[in-house]
Amino acid sequence: MSLTREEVDHIAALAHLTLSEAQKARYQEQLSAILDYAARIQAVDTSTISPTATVLPLRTILRDDTMTSPLPREEALTNAPEAIEGCFAVPPLR
């Protein structure tokens, strides 16, 4: 099982990663090797096994319906690369 170059392009696009041609070639090779190694889990019979997404017993956690003080807006914005009028600012969509 090897990843094709088109698949690498597709994954990079899904993950919003701009990569150079050299990076794509290297990741194609490395990810193929890792996926080949990972293929050994296919040999395990899991036909009757349910998946484990968390080791915790499932339960609903509720909190009291009371007001708490959230992070002030100015503080939430202090790390923003750009903020305008109390909002995070980003470049235009197109």
Partner: protein, 488 residues
């Protein structure tokens, strides 16, 4: 040479209470040690000497007023993927360069409330992804036992700092071995608590179903002390366990009579360094001498823990790291459109290992591959957990090596991701099963490099786990050895 920086937490606390020295003197001694050795060890990303001295003076005042707190005046280091209010927190990534959290992680808040002094933030593999600190976006930390070797990872900065006397103890995080493996490589005690025992609030998320903060200390008593302070339910983290936190220090009695120790046969396989195998076998004999019985057990899915981990953890990481988009914090690449800004920021901001894992996880979660990779890995995870459940029907704790090898040379594995992943082969399955495990010093190889014994226990059985580790430690001299430091 000033030996105050080489004390355990509990010894230093005792001496502080007897007024043998002040918190200010202790903190100054540690800052001097950092000054003397950190240019070669490179454990700290951001030291905070001024804040540490201010906190030390406050601790001295409080003690003079009769305050007693469990860590009053004790200087610690914090791994840099754990948020600290007002102190830069990068997770070892360029994409978070300059980020200053407006809040403390719950575990940091609890340590501060207990009176701890924070000396600074320690280096790690970027976003805690790695086993050597070589994946740090900034620099590689050096092992105090041999500067040409890695300290382990990802909590390698925390481990190196404690081993070199640049902190009395430290916090790390363990997703697949990131506390235990560096503890093993640096001759420390490293504890991964039960999943949910400690709050993850304020930890920069890597794999949410696996991440746990844990202490790196010079002995088991210090690990018990710190765990007792950081454990417990947290309203900010709905995955914390509600069970009460026991008195871990009170559990350290040293008595192992009647204890059943399981030895997984799958942990003694080809690839295990002979010196590691010998040291672990000798440690098992010590447990027998202390009154324990050895029982051979099988964890049949051990050989698939590595591929399961490297599908589950990257899948969770690809979702968690989606938040780094240049909008709210950290690095932003210049661009003319939003889409270009996000993709350029991520492409330039993440290092190679993080990019690799995001891509691997994205692939495992993508349409057409989800069932074959992610769901399949989660099903095998169920079997790995069932292996432990079955073993703990027969035994109280499990024992084996922490790392298959002692500290490897810087650069030796850096170019081969799969080789690097194999460094964690014995620490991944406990994390997947959510059970607590600890690495304890158990000897040295022919090059004088430390070896770690790993013990694991059923969920929430930290008291028993630490009790076994303590009994072993008290019967052996390994934890008392300190490295010969550069320029000391």
């Amino acid at each position: 040479m000033n030996t105050l920086p080489d004390l355990t937490l509990h010894a230093a606390l005792d001496l502080l209470n007897r007024k043998e020295f002040s918190a200010t003197e202790l903190t100054l001694a540690l800052l001097e040690r950092i000054q003397a050795v950190d240019n070669q060890i490179q454990a700290y990303l951001t030291p905070t000497p001024e804040a540490a001295l201010t906190a030390a003076r406050q601790a001295d005042q409080l003690r003079a007023q009769g305050e007693t707190r469990p860590l009053l005046g004790l200087p610690l280091a914090i791994k840099d993927n754990i948020s600290t209010r007002g102190v830069p927190t990068t997770a070892g990534s360029r994409i978070l360069e300059g980020y200053v959290p407006p809040f403390d992680a719950t575990v940091v808040e609890r340590l501060k409330a207990a009176g701890a002094i924070i000396l600074g933030k320690t280096n790690l593999d970027e976003f805690a992804m790695g086993s050597s600190t070589e994946n740090s976006g900034f620099f590689t930390t050096h092992n105090p036992w041999d500067l040409e070797r890695v300290p382990g990872g990802s909590s390698g900065g925390s481990a190196a700092a404690v081993a070199a006397g640049e902190a009395l103890a430290a916090l790390g995080t363990d997703t697949g071995g990131s506390v235990r493996q560096p503890a093993s490589l640096c001759n420390l005690v490293g504890l991964r608590p039960t999943y949910g025992r400690c709050s993850r609030y304020g930890l920069i998320a890597f794999a949410s179903s696996l991440d746990q903060p844990g202490p790196l200390t010079r002995d088991v008593t210090d690990a018990a002390l710190l765990l007792g302070l950081i454990a417990g339910a947290d309203p900010h983290d709905s995955t914390t366990r509600p069970e009460p936190v026991p008195d871990y220090l009170a559990a350290l009695t040293g008595d192992l009579k009647g204890l059943r120790v399981g030895v997984p046969r799958e942990y003694f396989v080809a690839g295990l360094q002979p010196a590691v195998e010998q040291a672990v076998q000798a440690a098992l004999q010590t447990l027998v001498d202390l009154g324990a019985t050895l029982v051979e057990v099988s964890l049949p899915h051990t050989d698939v823990a590595l591929p399961v981990y490297y599908l589950v953890a990257p899948a969770e990481c690809s979702a968690n790291l989606a938040r780094f988009d240049g909008v709210r914090y950290g690095f932003r690449a210049p661009a003319t459109t939003l889409e270009e800004m996000v993709s350029q920021t991520r492409g330039q901001g993440f290092g190679p290992e993080v990019t690799r894992r995001i891509m691997l996880g994205t692939y495992a979660l993508s349409a057409g591959y989800y069932d074959a990779y992610y769901r399949k890995a989660q099903q095998v995870r169920t079997l790995i957990k069932a292996d432990f459940d079955a073993a703990f029907q027969q035994v109280d704790v499990l024992a084996g090596p922490t790392s298959p090898v002692t500290a490897f040379r810087i650069g030796e594995r850096a170019d081969d991701p799969l080789q690097m992943y194999l460094a964690d082969i014995f620490t991944l399955s406990q994390a997947l099963a959510g059970i607590p495990a600890v690495s304890v010093p158990c000897g040295f190889d022919e090059s004088g490099l430390p070896i770690g014994l790993q013990l694991a226990a059923p969920e929430l059985a930290e008291a028993q786990l630490l009790q076994v580790a303590y009994a072993y430690e008290q019967a052996t001299p390994w934890h008392q050895r300190r490295p010969a430091l550069p320029g000391k």
